[in-house]
């Protein structure tokens, strides 16, 4: 398994404002309960207060890189869960949001 990123779940009343780039990671999207929310969706879509920020690198990263990612996000946000993202045999071992 090749470590390539992390989904960091933030506790926030609004869509969190997070950096586009942190170390080797680029922000791919913010989702809420599996629905991508960076692009506007329903006119009055309702969300929970738990946001998934996907940070993905374009190369293999170290576990320390993920720790640094969490430290950076912790400076302005409260994260409640983090999930490392892996590739297995070149394929993403995680789902994509709608």
């Amino acid at each position: 398994m090749k470590l390539v990123g992390a989904d960091v779940y933030l506790w926030s009343k609004e869509v969190p404002t997070v950096p586009e780039q942190i170390g080797p990671f680029a922000l791919r999207f913010i989702s809420n309960r599996g629905t991508r929310v960076i692009q506007p969706i329903a006119p009055h879509a309702e969300f929970s207060d738990w946001w998934c920020c996907r940070y993905r690198a374009d190369r293999e990263v170290s576990h320390d890189d993920v720790h640094s990612l969490l430290e950076t996000l912790s400076q302005k946000h409260v994260w409640t869960q983090a999930q490392k993202l892996f590739e297995i045999n070149g394929a993403n071992a995680y789902s994509e949001p709608y």
């Binding site: 989904d7 309960r33 969706i41 329903a42 009055h44 309702e46 394929a91 789902s95 709608y98």
Partner: protein, 333 residues
């Protein structure tokens, strides 16, 4: 009153089912201007998203859509058009009414239940990971606002439609936190509706109760996965997916759809029963307050089913899709 509604003809048998249903709607006196939109295989084959942005925007603009069945491509990376529509339009409430139709054989006499399934969260959030090469996890996400809005929707619908009881279905004895949150929220919401009876059942018991004591139930409200499973079980009790209608509601938009698949092997054969899509269109007419047209179609459909002379193959007959629709039109005239 004239209405505008979006029409998605769908895949497989969808276009011929839509053709039949549109003829019946025209004959009913309902005045609807259809705005055609695409989703499913056609845009996918052109390299576009399975639900193009134009389709989403049209439904947002016109608020109401009728949708034929669509094919979900099987394979890595493919997404469901149905789930995409629900997510992008925030259609959080899936309504699946089931009742004993005249002339449709079912052992469940007097069946009359309306199921409300939460449509946007639970395991259908589809948040999944491999944590090791041998362990995969899927997040079951249940939120308080997500639970509240579906339970409130069920209660509001029950009150507006003269129903007496709402039953919440869960597995909170095992998933004490996630399903526990759904149940706790349902109990809180129920307190705002003292005119309606409220109770709750564990989902496995509910399955048994549904097929043994179906007369005890009125309106059911469930999280996404249980709702998906029980609504198909209930469709079977009604006579099969060929006759079971469905609707998906958000705060602003509603999409009405047959709950069965696109049956691609029957495409172009003029064979499939249009009742499910027709009854979905009837739900749409009621949503648009076109009660007279809705009643007219329902009565004509019931008469045709009751006579039993013209039936599609799923109900033991040999009539084609269009012939069945013509029989309904003849009854209306």
């Amino acid at each position: 009153m004239r209405h505008k509604a979006v029409l998605i003809r769908g895949d497989g048998t969808g276009p011929e089912l839509c053709e039949a249903v549109l003829k019946v709607l025209d004959a009913s006196g309902a005045q609807i201007d259809w705005i055609e939109a695409e989703a499913g295989e056609k845009p996918l084959k052109r390299g576009e998203p399975i639900v193009p942005d134009r389709t989403i925007e049209l439904i947002k603009q016109y608020k109401v859509a009728l949708k034929g069945p669509m094919t979900t491509p099987i394979g890595k990376g493919s997404v469901s058009a149905n789930v995409t529509l629900r997510k992008k339009l925030d259609l959080f409430a899936c309504m699946r009414p089931v009742w004993a139709l005249p002339g449709v054989p079912t052992p469940f006499k007097d069946l009359n239940i309306v199921i409300f399934r939460e449509n946007t969260e639970d395991l259908y959030a589809q948040v999944e990971y491999y944590n090791t090469p041998d362990v995969a996890v899927s997040l079951k996400i249940i939120s308080r606002p997500g639970s509240r809005r579906i339970v409130e929707f069920a209660f509001e619908w029950a009150r507006a439609n003269g129903r007496k009881k709402v039953t919440a279905v869960h597995k909170a004895n095992i998933m004490k936190i996630s399903d526990g949150l759904f149940l706790q929220t349902a109990r809180e919401v129920a307190q705002k509706y003292p005119d309606l009876e409220f109770n709750d059942y564990i989902v496995d018991n509910m399955c048994m109760q549904l097929v043994t004591r179906w007369r005890n139930f009125d309106v059911l409200v469930l999280p996404n996965l249980y709702g998906d499973i029980l609504s198909d079980l209930a469709a079977g009790m009604m006579g099969g997916l060929g006759v079971a209608p469905g609707a998906n509601f958000g705060r602003d938009c509603a999409v009405f759809e047959a709950v069965h698949g696109s049956a691609p092997k029957y495409a172009g054969l003029n064979k499939v029963n249009p009742t499910a899509l027709l009854l979905s269109a009837v739900l749409m007419l009621r949503h648009l307050k076109e009660t007279e047209a809705a009643d007219r179609i329902e009565q004509a459909l019931y008469a045709v089913l009751q006579e039993g002379k013209i039936r599609t193959y799923d109900l033991g007959g040999t009539a084609g899709t269009q012939e069945f629709a013509q029989a309904i039109i003849a009854k209306m005239s």
